[in-house]
Amino acid sequence: MSTPVALASEVVALQARGLAARLGGVEVLHPTDLTLRAGRWTCVVGPNGAGKSTLLKALAALLPHAGTVRLLGRDMESLSRRERARTLAWLGQGTTGAEDLSVHDVTMLGRLPHRPWLAAPSAQDQAAVRDALQAMQAWDWRERPLGELSGGERQRVLIARCLAVGAPVMLMDEPLANLDPPHQADWMALVRARVAGGGTVVSVLHEVGIALQADDLLVMRSGRVVHHGACDDPATHEALQQAFDHRLSLHRVDGRWTALPRA
């Protein structure tokens, strides 16, 4: 990113206007206006079936949708496929497949938008893959096939695949699924580093306690964004309680907010 850090928060990473999506004739995402600033980590939370994944996919232009999305100030439609892929990286939820490919091969797929067709990986591609795998502590077993990994190991490789793209904007759906606490902490440190460098991260997290560590929260319910605000804002906490039927108890621990389910 060439954007200076001081200016990063004034740059708009993603701007949606009237973004809506239908699945099987049902509107699962109602028309949504959204502005996500660059240099921030935003978490999308909400009850099951609130439309979180759909919002992420619509923002990434991965499903048919109404409305427009501007990516770093440019209309998504005007970007070429590869240009879009280099600017916005998307990590799906519970991605399966690629059992026969090695960890290294899978991560190298993240470099596809950068590589001329049929060209061998460049030194830059190799470096990006190594950095991503080392960040996820998967470099030591890079030759192992994906099909032989545990769920958590597999998820780390898939995150590395997304990181290897080196995109300034990253959309990640449930990135912490199957990860143990040390690797969850590693992932959060990594996101912090990316955001400090002017990058933008939007993640869907079902664990509200971890989601509250982000800069901003997008609270969704029944296909609508019902609140968008800073994580330490009391209004955000109120919106959270409403979205989850007041079944949360919010606590401040060591200067950070966290949440537990309430019986």
């Binding site: 996919k57 496929r81 799906g92 399966t96 497949g97 026969d100 030759e143 545990s150």
Partner: protein, 353 residues
């Protein structure tokens, strides 16, 4: 179908410790090529009277039988097997499903219908005979196979949805199969001719057919190699592939075209040969874990070895008579898959199994 849910088989343990997989892909390629060369020599020498050395019965007739009949026939089996193996790997990559068969898109039933029609029209009118003489049963089979795939494409309204494509292929298969049955009901005399086709045969393959198949196979091998990285990208699912900027629609179109051409050409020359397209990629995956580019080429080699071996076996088991080679591949290929399943499960390349 991930490794998690499976008891650690010997294979898994070995793969874990050696970390790169049991065999190196290049080593497997070399072994398969050597096996193929051996089978070509064997196929040329083995006749209805057993093994015949060229020197021992050095009369001109034996020489001619070897070079005009047995060699092109064996080479034909190699080429048909390679086409089917390649098509199987492409189909399993396209549909992200280890059970995908190259005949899925309606090419087999289309070809069978084409042959049934051709045989039924034989002698009906001089015009039909004239057209058939030019086209031949081979041409009718190829045209039928292409028609089957085109119908599937029309029914699925293009290649936008892989699942719809799969369903359309199944439906077209059933409808065209029923149409073929109606023809055979009305004209039982075509049944005998048709049976040779549906059981699969390599006996009629000559040098011309070999040249034709080689001309189709070589560009397809290049295409498979070139599309390999894109198939790797597709193996993480269509949304991920799309997010990586891959041109999904043109990619699927190219893969479907390659499938249609490979199966159409193979079926036209050798009839419906079962199991080679399904078993060849599994055979390769059981030994190496590799990228789609290498998997497709290795599957072509494995298919060639399978069919060449089956062809020789079909000629020798009940010599001097012979079995239809399709029966042989069904017995060998089906037996192999059963054994694999018994040994610890089939591996999927995709995750949708």
């Amino acid at each position: 179908m991930t490794g998690r849910s499976r008891a650690p088989t010997l294979q898994a343990v070995r793969t874990r410790t050696r970390s790169t997989g049991a065999v190196h892909p290049a080593l497997l390629a070399l072994a398969l090529m050597m096996l193929l060369a051996l089978l070509l020599v064997l196929g040329t020498l083995v006749g209805s009277a057993g093994l015949q050395w060229p020197g021992s019965a050095a009369d001109a007739v034996a020489q001619r039988i070897a070079f005009e009949i047995r060699l092109p026939r064996t080479l034909g089996a190699v080429l048909v097997g390679a086409l089917l193996g390649l098509a199987g790997a492409v189909a399993q990559g396209l549909f992200r499903n280890p059970l995908a068969d190259p005949f899925l898109l309606g090419s087999a039933s289309g070809a069978a219908l084409g042959v049934a029609l051709a045989l039924a029209m034989w002698g009906v009118s001089p015009l039909a005979v004239q057209a058939l003489a030019r086209l031949g049963v081979t041409g009718a089979a190829f045209a039928g196979a292409m028609l089957g795939v085109l119908l599937t494409l029309a029914l699925s309204r293009g290649v936008q949805h892989t699942l719809r494509l799969l369903l359309a292929g199944v439906i077209v298969g059933v409808v065209l199969g029923a149409s073929k049955d109606l023809i055979t009901l009305a004209r039982p005399d075509v049944l005998q001719g048709l049976q040779g086709f549906t059981l699969g045969h390599t006996g009629f393959i000559g040098w011309g057919a070999c040249a034709l198949m080689a001309a189709v196979l070589l560009p397809l091998l290049v295409l498979a190699w070139v599309l390999g990285p894109l198939l790797d990208g597709l193996s993480l699912g269509e949304p991920t592939a799309q997010s990586l900027g891959l041109p999904l629609a043109p990619l699927r179109m190219a893969l479907v075209a390659a499938l249609a051409l490979a199966t159409g050409t193979a079926v036209a020359q050798a009839g419906l040969i079962a199991f080679v397209g399904l078993a060849a990629p599994h055979l390769v995956r059981a030994m190496v874990r590799t990228t789609h580019a290498a998997l497709t080429l290795l599957s072509a080699l494995a298919g060639a070895v399978l069919l060449a071996a089956a062809d020789i076996a079909a000629r020798t088991v009940v010599a001097p008579a012979e079995w239809p080679v399709g029966v042989m591949t069904a017995v060998l290929g089906g037996g192999y898959l059963l054994w694999r399943m018994h040994r610890g499960g089939l591996r999927s390349s995709g995750g949708t199994a």
